[in-house]
């Protein structure tokens, strides 16, 4: 994973969506594409959702992520279309399985990347507070937002160290490889986590006063459109189940 992919920059975040809208989009993409909600009847919703994800990544300036996503998705789709009819036996099932998993998981992951990489910690906290979610849930989640990029940084440093020692895959040492990578990663992450919490506590986190927030979040035109889209999709499913449609 490249280091920059999960880092939120303060500026140039493209079309600004409210964090709540982003969460709703994430849930919608996951339930329809990954969860396959609605079955066959809703198979046409899936490409639309995939396209939305792609557009959002592009507006956020994550060109590289968008290209990877598009290429991977198209490859899976083409494999299903062209390769599968040629195959038979175990290979058929292998390709069918991996194509299925890939095309279902990719859009969700891409949307996740979009949400994490375009939301700052304070925006996220503000959104959660507006939804009246308890601090006990908000704080661990916001720490997670902070922690992913840090782990990414640590990981690339460890990788460099391993290359200098000439340790690389091969020779059937995959187990060892994981161990060599995880041991320093865990110790460094644990230490950083400890220092991070100490720093946050000395800045008064967890006090008994109600936290305020300087982030201006709120629903705008684009939020309304996306929310309407999501709700339409869910409403359609509900209507189908009720037998109306």
């Amino acid at each position: 994973m490249s280091l920059g992919i999960l880092q939120t920059t303060g500026q140039q975040r493209g079309m600004i969506l409210d964090p709540r809208t982003k969460l709703l989009l994430l849930i919608t993409v996951s339930t329809f594409v990954l969860g396959g909600l609605g079955g066959e009847k809703f198979s046409s919703v899936i490409p639309a959702l995939c396209l939305i994800t792609l557009i959002l990544l592009l507006t956020a300036g994550r060109i590289k992520a968008a290209v990877i996503y598009l290429a991977a998705y198209l490859a899976a789709w083409l494999a299903a279309l062209l390769l599968l009819p040629q195959l038979s036996g175990p290979l058929y099932f292998l390709v069918l399985g991996s194509v299925g998993i890939f095309s279902r998981v990719m859009p969700g992951v891409a949307m996740g990347v979009y949400v994490v990489s375009t939301t700052t910690v304070s925006e996220f906290t503000a959104a959660m507070q507006r939804m009246h979610i308890s601090e006990k849930i908000i704080i661990p989640f916001s720490v997670m937002f902070r922690f992913f990029p840090t782990v990414g940084e640590e990981f690339s440093a460890i990788n460099a160290a391993m290359r200098m020692r000439g340790i690389s895959f091969g020779g059937g040492r995959i187990g060892k490889m994981l161990e060599y990578r995880l041991v320093p990663l865990l110790t460094c992450s644990a230490r950083i986590g400890e220092e991070l919490s100490a720093a946050a506590l000395t800045r008064g986190l967890g006090g008994n006063v109600k936290r305020t927030n300087i982030c201006c979040i709120g629903f705008k035109m684009q939020d309304v459109i996306f929310i309407a889209l999501c709700f339409t999709a869910f409403a359609a499913v509900a209507l189908v189940y009720l037998g109306v449609l």
Binding site: G10, R165, I192, S197
Partner: protein, 493 residues
């Protein structure tokens, strides 16, 4: 403002850093320097003031610590946070947010201040710290000095009465130290009480009014700065303290090792998405044997140079000529080793011995024993590398590089946060390594340079500004750099 009455403290699971029978009184508006050897209890003392002890770090505490009229044991951490603001050593791990504006506002948000006032305070304190151009950036794109500015601004925005700084300069370059000095001067003018625990003393002599020297968890002396300045340089050595003034620096004379040279050719590199190259050296000639200091400000291209030299930077096309041999990036990856600032990243195994055997390249058992002996690791060979002290970990990393047959050793800030005794030991070790190998050291520590380096490479804006032998004339240049830094600064963007 701060009062300690017969305070003793012992950590629940460690012996070092404990305090015995500390009694101390700091008046409002005083600026106090805490110094002493590594593990003498400086950090512990700061943690007692900001309430992390006993609320976060556990152990046995007796006596009474009163800050701003309140006993820190009785009040919760978030209440102490209103009175005491803390700046820590490691800029990587003291940020809660990922963007600078959010980070400066974070403390105020926790106090529950109204958003308008927070905006006002964020603007004011970032202006005071000279950090206004850093607002709205991702903290992952900032240099160490810039991060420390944001940390100061975010503490300052909470307007505490007491500031506690725990080794704030250990990752900073000379300009950043200068900026930090101005920040502290400003706090002092506002009548705040300031406590600084620090190894580097030369930037603090004009700033602090009072010096407290700790040894083994006890206050050994407590004196005004005037009196502290009268201690002779030899006296300071006995206390294992760093130098007070860069004027005292003198270099170690070495018979110049004439002979082979190392030529770096076409050392150019730019990161994806950033247009001007971070590193841009057409050709640089360096002595092959010896210890070379790489100096320059943050962002001058020092770490990029070291990564390129070690062959870690993909897409890097330069090469390294040594006599008739030419080494490409891949060959350099085999021949060189970078000892990172955070050595934890490069220790993988369960015991020191296993660690050293991993990647051993043709070296035989005798060689293993010899290297372990020379680096004082024989007694530790059964230990888990992560259980060792910082200096021991560093020696394990060096030993593993030697046994893997590496010829070029690069060190990134090997002495940040070390006291005099440990710094001098590291210097001796680096010097002896330099007799056989090429050793390059990226450092902001002038005391280390004069103790072990033969040669200085001064970088600026990705290129070589100057390079010189460390002799009488070289020392003057070096001293000039560390006293003045580079004032002409162009802010990016």
């Amino acid at each position: 403002m701060i009062e300690f009455k017969n305070v003793s403290f012992k950590y629940a699971n460690a012996d070092s850093g404990s305090l015995q029978n500390i009694s101390l009184r700091v008046r409002k508006g005083e600026c106090v320097l805490l110094c002493g050897q590594s593990g003498c209890g400086k950090t512990t003392l700061t943690r007692l003031i900001n309430g992390l002890i006993p609320h976060y770090y556990e152990g046995e505490l007796s006596g009474e610590v009163v800050v701003g009229g309140l006993d820190v044991r009785d009040i919760e951490l978030y209440d102490t946070a209103r009175i005491v603001g803390s700046v820590f050593q490691n800029p990587r791990s003291q940020f809660f947010c990922v963007d600078t504006t959010g980070e400066i506002a974070f403390g105020c948000e926790n106090l529950g201040l109204p958003p308008d006032e927070i905006e006002e305070r964020v603007k004011l304190s970032s202006r005071e710290m000279g950090a206004i151009n850093l607002l709205g950036r991702s903290i992952f794109q900032l240099s160490g000095g810039e991060k420390q500015k944001i940390a100061c601004a975010s503490v300052s925005a909470m307007r505490p009465e007491v500031f506690v700084l725990d080794e704030p300069t250990s990752n900073l370059d000379i300009n950043a130290i200068h900026d930090l000095k101005e920040t502290i001067r400003l706090w002092k003018k506002e009548g705040k009480t300031i406590i600084i625990a620090e190894h580097r003393l030369y930037w603090l002599t004009e700033l602090c009014d009072r010096v407290i020297y700790l040894r083994n968890g006890e206050i050994e002396c407590d004196m005004p700065m005037r009196e502290f300045c009268r201690i002779t340089p030899e006296g300071l050595r006995k206390l294992s303290l760093r130098t007070r003034s860069l004027k005292e620096l003198c270099y170690r004379k070495v018979s110049s090792q004439a002979g082979e040279y190392l030529t770096l050719q076409n050392y150019r590199y730019s990161y994806r998405g950033s247009m001007p190259p971070v590193l841009d050296i057409q050709e640089a000639v360096l002595p092959k044997k010896g210890v070379i200091a790489i100096i320059g400000n943050n962002g001058a291209g020092k770490s990029t140079l070291s990564k390129c030299l070690c062959g870690l930077q993909k897409r890097f096309g330069g090469h390294c000529r040594c006599g008739s041999a030419v080494y490409s990036r891949r060959q350099m990856l085999k021949k060189s080793y970078l000892v990172m600032q955070d050595v934890n990243h490069q220790l993988f195994c369960e015991s020191v011995e296993e660690e050293l055997r991993l990647g051993m390249d043709g070296a035989d058992e005798k060689e293993l024993v010899r290297v372990m002996d020379s680096l004082e690791l024989t007694a530790l060979k059964e230990r888990h590398p992560m259980s060792l002290s910082g200096g021991q970990k560093q020696r394990v990393a060096i030993a593993s590089a030697l046994l893997a047959g590496k010829e070029f050793l690069v060190f990134d800030e090997p002495t940040s946060g070390l006291d005099f005794y440990h710094m001098e030991r590291t210097a001796k070790l680096l010097f002896s390594l330099g007799r056989e190998k090429t050793v390059l050291i990226i450092t902001h520590d002038p005391e280390l340079i004069v103790r072990c380096c033969d040669y200085v490479l001064h970088m600026e804006w990705g290129g070589v500004k100057e390079q010189y032998q460390l002799n009488e004339a070289g020392l003057l240049k070096l001293r000039y750099f560390f006293e003045n830094g580079e004032r002409k600064r162009i802010s990016v963007e």
